[in-house]
């Protein structure tokens, strides 16, 4: 059976991630610069994930690698969520939104989906629920005046 690090190397394979990201970029109306920027971001993230797998490749590191994957899942989830907010608030406000925002959101969620193959279903549910509860709790605090913007 392959180690978690070996599986992560397969998940972050740039020969899969880069063409798929290009495909996402080409699914919306982007300039050549925006397309290249989106693909470069995906390639960079792929390289960072490969570096993570390389650094934590010892069998004794597997628990920390799994934790790092969970943290990365949350990072991507929040990145996607922010782009999704911009896209839909702009859609409601102006009737449209910048295609690059849509492409970034899709690219983040694509990588999120690839990572999910390495995380247990119960852990994914817990991470998703925790992400929602964390922010919903903040929203309640804002409503009740318990959250103050730092000066």
């Amino acid at each position: 059976m392959r180690s978690l690090a070996e599986q992560l190397i397969a998940v972050a394979d740039p020969s899969i991630i880069i063409p798929t990201s290009r495909n996402i970029a080409e699914s919306v109306d982007l300039s050549a610069e925006e397309r290249d920027s989106l693909v470069a971001d995906a390639a960079s993230l792929s390289a960072q994930i490969l570096a993570l797998a390389s650094s934590l490749q010892d069998p004794d590191d597997e628990l920390d690698l799994y934790r790092s994957l969970a943290a990365l899942w949350l990072e991507l989830r929040f990145t996607w969520q922010r782009q999704n907010m911009v896209a839909n608030y702009d859609t409601i406000r102006t009737g449209t939104c910048a295609p690059i925002v849509l492409a970034r959101a899709s690219a983040a969620s694509y990588l999120l989906m690839r990572l999910e193959s390495l995380l247990a279903r119960e852990h994914l549910d817990k991470l998703g629920d925790t992400a929602v509860e964390l922010l919903d709790g903040l929203r309640t605090n804002v409503v009740t005046g318990n959250l103050h913007v730092a000066a």
């Binding site: 699914s27 996607w80 907010m85 839909n88 859609t91 492409a103 989906m113 549910d125």
Partner: protein, 124 residues
């Protein structure tokens, strides 16, 4: 004019699963908290989420987290609280899919106290 035929709307809440699966738009019936009771074939194929893994989970927070904001879930909760909801607007799905422009209709059928999220594709 709505993307949902008025004939279909008149059949709510008595929509059989087979009838829902025949429709060319997404049909999601949820309870007052957002838990999915019915998830039709179109929605399943568009979102890439199996019916069996969608039904019983919360639509807004678990299955379609892109809808967990004031624009969608907030509007839904307000409508449920008021007992009155019929709103149609443009939206965009990006979660685990290519950017997909859609129209959403949030509807509460007051006599049966059932809630419906209807999703139609729209051109960019």
């Amino acid at each position: 004019m709505s993307f949902v035929p008025s004939q279909f709307m008149s059949q709510i809440p008595s929509i059989a699963r087979s009838h829902a699966d025949d429709q060319p738009f997404g049909i999601v019936q949820v309870d007052d908290t957002g838990v999915i009771k019915l998830y039709n074939r179109f929605e399943s194929e568009m979102a890439g989420v199996a019916v069996s893994s969608a039904e019983g989970r919360n639509f807004f927070t678990q299955v379609a987290p892109c809808t967990n904001n004031r624009l969608m879930f907030g509007k839904f909760k307000d409508g449920v609280a008021k007992g009155e909801l019929d709103s149609e607007f443009n939206y965009t799905f990006t979660y685990k899919m290519k950017p997909t422009n859609v129209q959403i209709r949030l509807y509460r059928h007051a006599p049966s106290a059932t809630n419906w999220v209807l999703v139609g594709l729209r051109a960019a």
